[in-house]
């Protein structure tokens, strides 16, 4: 995964954004990709979907995706169009669900860099090395570089694609490695 992503900051959110507000529990019954996207932030900011529909980077504070392990929170962000989320920190179940679904996540090396972005800033992101260049301000921000296995998942487009890809080297068996 060497390609560089050029996208704008489309939204900036605060700390402790929980999965109940990202994807309300009353829709837990649905796993249809597009349907999950339709309920993204439905109760608190229904206009959010419009902001991200053409892709872009969402900058968030600490403990993003806290609360329920519901996978639809990560799915809704991805299928609404979000290209990447950059956070001070993630809740662990959201972190796993997003990676498994092939949604790009980055985490600031220095939490104060959360302040270094404004909406509409143009970014050039090198995911594999963890470097974000803010073209608008000229600043370069360092994020934690992804672990090799996580890079494999992201390069495959998600863990489902990875496990299917791995079948050929494992005699048709579904394996993570």
């Amino acid at each position: 995964m060497s390609q560089v992503i050029k996208k704008k900051v489309v939204a900036i959110l605060g700390d402790d954004v929980d999965t109940d507000v990202i994807f309300p529990a009353r829709y837990l019954g649905t796993f249809d990709e597009q349907e999950t996207a339709n309920h993204l932030f439905e109760d608190v900011d229904p206009s959010f979907r419009n902001k991200v529909k053409n892709g872009g980077v969402v900058i968030v504070g600490k403990n993003f995706g806290c609360g329920s392990a519901r996978e639809q929170a990560a799915m809704a962000l991805k299928y609404a169009g979000v290209t990447m989320v950059v956070a001070v920190s993630y809740n662990r179940s959201f972190y796993r669900n997003a990676i498994n679904n092939g949604l790009l996540l980055m985490e600031f090396e220095n939490p104060e860099d959360y302040q270094a972005f404004k909406e509409d800033n143009q970014l050039i992101v090198d995911y594999a090395s963890g470097i974000i260049k803010n073209e608008t301000t000229g600043r370069e921000i360092r994020c934690l570089a992804p672990n090799k296995f996580i890079l494999d998942i992201i390069s495959a487009g998600g863990i489902c694609q990875l496990i299917i890809k791995n079948q050929s080297k494992n005699g048709g068996k579904l394996c993570l490695l």
Partner: protein, 411 residues
């Protein structure tokens, strides 16, 4: 240096090695649990990856989130869970009315055993740590991949060792301990951490209390929790399963990335105030807040110990005229026991609604809050909109605190 419990559990499963925080290890699971929502989602992913058979792992399926089904989507998911169990020959499928909230059912029916790894499509799988079992909550893709391959990618966590000393004072419960820890540590010190409890204070806590503690710590974003299994835990499990298991306790000189000592005698009643479960304060600092609804139940505090405490407070009294009280026993075993002990009669005569065992009010499946209303609940989350309107406020507390609030109309 000696080893922590998570180290020992993983060493047994995948071989002794120098586990490093942040590194990824492929691990198996001894048990998996999916509720109706998780089962339906897992099926979808299994189809997507073309899995035609399941890796042989003991599996339990229980519909608990939206039962009995109130809308068609839930009825369809529950049918999917039933169909899944039939298709793959899952013997441990529990129909509604025969089990209750999955986490509690797994514990009381002997599916949770010390030293094992149990993975569930629900964040509150941390509850299993009450019996020294590594419980991990995952999404449906993780579950499908585990069921198809027998493997789970586990990021080895940093481990916090908490030595419990002393004994809780009357009127203080495990919920208060959890709220105290969540408030003091915050998510900054808990996300992706493993929390292990050991020390002389452990044996002063009942299994119900340990389950509450491990369950609630999930809200700090922990990977999981483990309580060092003692005689009480061993007796509890042995009475419920014939399966052999190997319990692990931490070595005396176990290495932890961080150490903490908590004196249980010093814990006071706590309340999580809106809108996050880690926003915790001593109860006395919010006393007097008027409430519209009180809820006693959930996988956190719907156990028999909790119902006994609440019933002792409500006995012969009436819930405040301005307050609705909802009581949901966590399982049908508990429901029956509460009936036998006369607790359900006390709740009913006090003016409470007693529901079937279900996640129910905790997840806003019923008992919704209208805009502007205030609720105090024994459950685990007080996020905006969790129990209804995003303009409602939720406080979280122990069964004792909630029962008193239901009587007086205020915290």
């Amino acid at each position: 240096m000696g080893h922590s419990m998570i180290y020992k559990i993983l060493a047994k499963k995948i071989g002794d090695q120098d586990f490093k925080a942040g590194e990824i290890y492929m691990t198996p699971a001894d048990l998996v649990f999916t509720h109706e929502v998780g089962t339906a989602g897992t099926m979808r992913v299994l189809d997507k990856i073309g899995a035609t058979e399941l890796y042989p792992i003991e599996m339990v399926i229980i519909s608990d989130h939206f039962v009995p089904a109130s809308i068609l989507t839930h009825a369809i998911n529950q049918k999917k869970a039933r169909d899944f169990a039939k298709k793959y020959g899952i013997r441990n499928y529990f129909e509604i009315g025969r089990a209750g909230i999955g986490h509690q059912v797994l514990i009381e029916k002997g599916f949770i055993r010390p030293g094992e790894i149990a993975i569930a499509t629900d964040a509150h799988a941390t509850t299993y740590g009450a019996l020294g079992c590594l419980g991990i909550g995952v999404g449906v893709t993780d579950m499908a991949v585990l069921l198809a391959s027998g493997q789970y990618w586990l990021k080895y966590p940093k481990v916090l060792g908490i030595r419990l000393e002393g004994k809780l004072r009357p009127g203080v419960s495990a919920k208060d301990v959890a709220l105290k820890l969540l408030g003091d540590l915050g998510t900054d010190n808990l996300i992706y951490w493993m929390v292990e409890f050991y020390g002389s204070g452990v044996s002063t806590l009942s299994i119900d209390s340990r389950a509450c503690l491990c369950n609630m710590m999930s809200e700090g974003g922990v990977k999981s929790c483990l309580v060092a299994p003692d005689n009480l835990a061993m007796e509890y499990v042995s009475a419920r399963t014939d399966k052999k298991f190997t319990p692990f306790v931490p070595d005396e000189d176990a290495y932890y990335d961080k150490y903490l000592t908590l004196d249980l005698d010093k814990v006071e009643p706590m309340v999580a105030i809106p809108d996050t479960p880690t926003n915790c304060v001593p109860r006395k600092s919010v006393s007097g807040v008027e409430i519209d609804q009180a809820f006693i139940g959930s996988c956190t505090n719907g156990r028999i110990e909790d119902l006994r405490i609440a019933a002792a407070i409500l006995k012969g009294k009436k819930v405040h005229p301005n307050v609705r009280l909802i009581v949901s026993p966590a399982s049908h075993e508990i429901w029956q026991q509460a009936l036998n002990e006369g607790l359900l009669t006390i709740f009913n005569q006090s003016g409470a609604v007693v529901t079937n065992p279900t996640c129910g009010a905790c997840i806003g499946a019923h008992g919704l809050l209208a805009p502007g209303e205030v609720c105090i609940a024994t459950s685990n989350r007080n996020f905006k909109g969790r129990m209804g309107s995003i303009d409602a406020k939720i406080y979280l507390a122990s069964p004792e605190t909630v029962a008193y609030a239901a009587l007086t109309g205020r915290i």
